[in-house]
Amino acid sequence: MKTFFFTGKGGTGKSTMASAAAWQLALTDKRVLAVSFDPAHNLGDIFGLKLSHKKKRYDKKLYLMEVNLEKASVKYIKENINLLESIYSYLKPFNMDRYFQILKYSPGIEEYASLTAMEELLRIEKENFDYIIIDTPPTGLTVRILALPVVTLSWIDRLKKIRGSILEKRYTIHNINGRISKEGIKLAYKESDDMVMKKLKEIEMRFMRLRTFLEGNDNSIVVVFNPDFLSLKESERLINALKELKLPFRIAINNKVEDKYTEEAERIEKKLLRNNDYVKLIRIKRMEPALKKAYTMVDNLTEVLL
């Protein structure tokens, strides 16, 4: 399975390009799933379908889906809060359970929920599709989501170290005293018995897998931009962020190029891709808005994608 993340500034044509790529790939007899992670979904509008959290069949080989981020975060929070409340039921008299309820407003939860949804999707659909095309939210949010695995892994590393020294101390106390328990709770002193350490390792594994996949050969980041100053500036920032995160930026699409401004478009392409010789560039001409079916692509994207 190969994945393509279509990223870029809002309004540059990410969704259009992602849809065109998905459609063209499906025409070459490949099984394709197009997923939108953009909270302001457009995928359904483009294909003229009402889409939801569940994948929907559009064509023999093409499936479409719009991830409901709010639903994904609520589901994630609910699962964890239910677990918390069942364990900490004694806290109810002190209203501590309310404290857990406010977790859903804590910063970063939505990004994490989208990442969890993405990881789940990639894991489940790995066998069912040859290509997964992902339409992402505008730049800022996308970079934050894609940066999460790296940030989280460094935090997990620190937490694991602290936990390790706690367990070491407990082990010493156990060896001298013959037992270690407080207020009736038997404390774990071995790494293999400690649930916290186990959970930390489990989360670490999950993120490692995701990071390896995102940085790997089967994943490509496509940056869609327009030949104008603002789009150039934002795309430059995006490309730098991708480089910092070691994410594979492989394809650049210069969209909405007008014939009379070809020179300007070339200048912007050169500036944007000056240190990225390995990146494939596609230039797409602006369509006549008068055309009713404006989403029929003239240029063939599959040559580059396949």
Binding site: Y76, I77, N80, L83, L84, I87, Y88, F100, L103, S106, P107, G108, I109, Y112, L148, V151, T152, W155, I156, R158, L159, I162, R163, S165, I166, K169, R170, T172, I173, I176, N177, G178, K182, E183, I185, L187, M195, V196, K199, L200, I203
Partner: protein, 98 residues
């Protein structure tokens, strides 16, 4: 028979006396390590919950996933918060001052 019972009682009494003595010695030896261990537990949970207190902290979801297994650490945090005004006294007690 009576004498044997009596002797056993004395022996058991000695056993008990020495075991308590040993235990108290052992617990004195581990007092400092226990203190360190408790502080580390406190730091661990404080780090996880830092975002609620405004200190830089790991993403909130990490805390959410770990909380179910941190009952003991939450109690430690609560106890530390209660005694925070008297931290010096605790330290002094630990070092046998006063």
């Amino acid at each position: 028979m009576l004498l044997k019972d009596f002797l056993m009682k004395i022996i058991n009494g000695f056993k008990w006396f020495f075991s308590v003595l040993g235990e108290s010695h052992r617990s004195r030896v581990t007092e400092l390590t226990s203190y360190e261990e408790r502080e580390l537990e406190n730091i661990f949970i404080l780090l996880l919950m830092g975002s609620f207190a405004g200190i830089p902290s790991p993403p909130a979801f990490l805390a959410v996933e770990l909380f179910p297994y941190l009952e003991h650490e939450l109690r430690v945090l609560e106890a530390r918060a209660k005694d925070s005004s008297d931290a010096l006294a605790e330290l002094a007690g630990l070092m046998d001052i006063g």
